[in-house]
């Protein structure tokens, strides 16, 4: 592995723009690509292009789709080397981490040829249409209806909590193609171009003021049957293969510090508390808050150690162990507690929504707390996660 590392390191040292070093925040922050995409800076564009040329926008995908063809071990080294320089990924998004892997495992050759290269090149941005107003934790009850008409599906219904649907070019969806029989056995996995007539989106404003999620409406939308992934009525199985992966990713991302506003990139709870509360003889002046900060720092450190355990297992060629099942619950819940604690440390200074009476960093911190409140809900609630662990890890009866 060392020659690979040395070569990659030399490449990064030479080509990674200096302005981007040390700016990595989370696996979901960076250039998202897509028809409407604009680079934030020339350096971001250059970084994307130089990595694309080497197949490193999709490091593990096969070369024939424009990927880097890296083994899992090489990919680990790749991530370590990016982390070493604090570099963001050259391309992020649901194409790379969600629909891409699904296509690779369940897509036809034609589907792979059509979609994967566009993802690699950052030309098409994807969103995921799973949840519905009446199908949240109970996803299998989804009712967006798709009826076959000739060689097309005609789709009517609504999705909700679709991340960044208003910026996306294509959507991968679960739709109901059969209403009788077992609910899971009547669901089909289908791809649609968001520009298709009859699709509209509406952003949802959250309590933090941000709108990362949308509603998506389908009115007599026509999609060719060739856009179905896997067999008709077999979409549940196709989607399920990736759900566990998605939850692990969310937990890991949140544990790494979580997606956060750039202004908070160097925010540290301990330093903030020391600044806000003050020390006497090296001890924080508020004993109760000190206790809570210790708790929070310990939680963080243990979460990181647990992720390290899982990564170290993979490093020596083992499958992830039972420890990886706790990432989503633990990562999100401690992230929420941490931002709440930050607001509590801030006292009256952290109650601002906007305006000159409050510092930018404290307003951002407070909004981050409000945004984090959703962490234990999005991507599978903590309660559903507990049900899954009880059943699949602990073997408790249904």
């Amino acid at each position: 592995m060392e020659p690979f590392r040395a070569e990659l390191r030399a490449f990064l040292e030479e080509h990674a723009p200096h302005s981007l070093r040390g700016t990595a925040l989370s696996p979901f922050q960076g250039h998202w690509g897509g028809r409407k995409a604009e680079f934030e800076s020339d350096d971001q564009k250059r970084w994307f292009e130089v990595m694309l040329e080497r197949g490193l926008t999709a490091p593990t995908w096969p070369n024939k789709y424009g990927g880097g063809g890296l083994s899992m071990n090489e990919f680990r080294v790749f991530k370590e080397e990016l982390t070493r320089l604090g570099l963001p990924l050259p391309l992020v998004g649901f194409g790379l981490v969600m629909i891409g892997p699904i296509l690779l495992s369940a897509g036809s050759e034609a589907q792979k040829d059509e979609h994967l290269p566009k993802i690699v090149r950052g030309e098409i941005r994807w969103c995921q249409g799973y949840s519905e107003p009446n199908a949240g934790s109970d996803l299998a009850s989804l009712g967006t209806r798709a009826v076959v008409d000739g060689d097309e599906l005609v789709i009517n219904g609504q999705k909700i909590w679709t991340s960044h649907a208003n910026h996306a070019d294509w959507i991968f969806c679960l739709v109901r193609t059969r209403t009788e029989g077992k609910r899971q056995a009547g669901i089909t996995f289908v791809l649609m171009d968001m520009a298709t007539a009859g699709i509209s989106t509406r952003p949802i404003e959250l309590i933090s003021g941000a709108s990362p999620f949308c509603e998506v409406f389908f009115e007599d939308v026509r999609a060719p049957l060739s856009n179905v992934i896997g067999e008709m009525h077999d979409g549940w199985r196709v989607a399920k293969a990736l759900l566990a992966h998605e939850r692990g990713m969310v937990g890991e991302s949140v544990a790494a510090g979580g997606a956060r506003a750039p202004i908070l990139s160097t925010f540290n709870l301990r330093d903030y508390a020391i600044d806000k509360i003050g020390l006497t003889d090296g001890i924080l002046d508020d004993a109760l808050l000190r206790h809570k900060i210790i708790q929070s720092e310990m939680d963080q450190q243990l979460m990181r150690a647990t992720i390290r355990r899982a990564n170290d297992r993979m490093r020596v060629g083992h499958q992830p162990g039972p420890e990886s099942s706790i990432f989503k619950i633990v990562g999100t819940e401690l992230n929420m507690r941490r931002w709440q604690l930050a607001v509590q440390i801030g006292g009256l200074d952290s109650l601002g929504w906007e305006g000159d009476a409050y510092t930018d960093i404290e307003t951002a911190m407070t909004r981050q707390w409000l945004r984090s409140r959703g962490n234990s809900i999005e991507g599978g609630t903590s309660e559903v996660q507990r049900n899954i662990i009880a059943r699949h890890v602990l073997g408790l009866p249904k």
């Binding site: 301990r270 000190r290 450190q301 243990l302 150690a305 633990v330 602990l394 408790l396």
Partner: protein
């Protein structure tokens, strides 16, 4: 990064874990502890002799990660061994001969003309000790057990502890400063945490098996969501404690050691309380083993530093 720094078991450690588990199942199941308890014995010299035969008195000299594997296995069945003290001695390279050096961590003594005077409360493994290590004016000393007044304690967990007094006892210098002393204590704490991990894991496994088998209202009680979620919370705590023990046994810095002990203290008490609650009526009885685990939990969580003490040290290490 060498393989030894990874937070996983090496193949050798895996083999050690398997043989430790086999030994515990064959030679030191909980029934052995119960028999000792019933006989009023807080030590098990025969078991220690067996462990010395196996060479496990020297495991800590190989490494804390290796010792942690053995401690976890023994902790599962509450085995009465002096291995926590042996771990402390290993920090100064002692213990190869199978002799037990117990540490008077709870007080310092005074030294005068080469003799030691002082009283140390609740010394762990005092009954099995061949000698005691104490600290006086920043230096470590050794006192032979024959020169100590030992008052055994009858504690809830039926393990080896005693008040120890020295009255102008002859002492020899151990090459070690206050810093060495604190390192000995940290090694003991790591061993204690690994044992606690075994204890809480076994209490959880018993509980999980019970809720899968116990029926009420015509169904297994493990099918009730409220119990599932409580079981998952116990499982999560154990996984986090395992991370903490792995971290501390591979790099026993004060920060890591305090992180581990604070977490294990809180987790073991919570888990053993939950274990009893989920067992219902049978869990309250002496006839069932689960009560032993709660007793052990409380003693080990109050020994070698409470959660409050370790949180405070952790914060000081980090500058607040």
């Amino acid at each position: 990064m060498s393989e030894n720094n990874l937070l996983i078991l090496t193949e050798d450690q895996q083999m050690l874990a398997e043989s430790a588990a086999e030994f515990v199942a064959a030679e030191a199941p909980v029934s052995r502890f119960r028999a000792r308890r019933d006989g009023g014995h807080s030590t098990d010299p025969d078991l220690w002799a067996q462990l010395v035969d196996l060479g496990w008195n020297g495991v800590a000299l190989i490494g804390l990660a290796e010792l942690a594997v053995v401690m976890e296995a023994l902790g599962r069945s509450l085995a009465q061994t002096p291995l926590v003290s042996v771990a402390a001695a290993a920090a100064i390279g002692e213990g190869e001969d199978g002799k037990v050096l117990a540490f008077g961590f709870n007080a310092s003594c005074s030294i005068s003309k080469g003799t030691i005077t002082g009283t140390i409360p609740a010394v762990q493994d005092a009954g099995m000790a061949d000698a005691f290590a104490v600290i006086a004016t920043g230096q470590m000393y050794r006192v032979d057990a024959t020169h100590a007044q030992i008052t055994p304690l009858a504690r809830i967990d039926c393990r080896d502890a005693a008040h120890v007094a020295f009255d102008s006892a002859p002492a020899t210098l151990i090459d070690g400063s206050a810093q060495t002393w604190s390192r000995c204590r940290d090694w003991a704490i790591v061993a204690q945490c690994a044992e606690m991990l075994g204890t809480m894991s076994a209490a959880f496994d018993m509980t999980l098996a019970y809720v899968k088998e116990r029926e009420q209202f015509g169904v297994k009680i493990g099918s009730f969501q409220v119990l599932k979620h409580r079981a998952v919370d116990m499982f999560i705590e154990i996984e986090l404690c395992r991370s903490a023990v792995m971290l501390a046994s591979r790099d026993p810095s004060p920060e890591h050691v305090s992180l581990a002990k604070a977490r294990c203290n809180d987790a073991i008490v919570t888990i053993c309380n939950e274990a009893i609650q989920l067992h219902g009526g049978i869990g309250m009885t002496d006839e069932h083993d689960i009560g032993f685990y709660l007793k052990r939990a409380m003693v080990s969580s109050q020994t070698l530093g409470t959660s409050a003490w370790h949180r405070d040290r952790y914060a000081r290490e980090r500058g607040y």
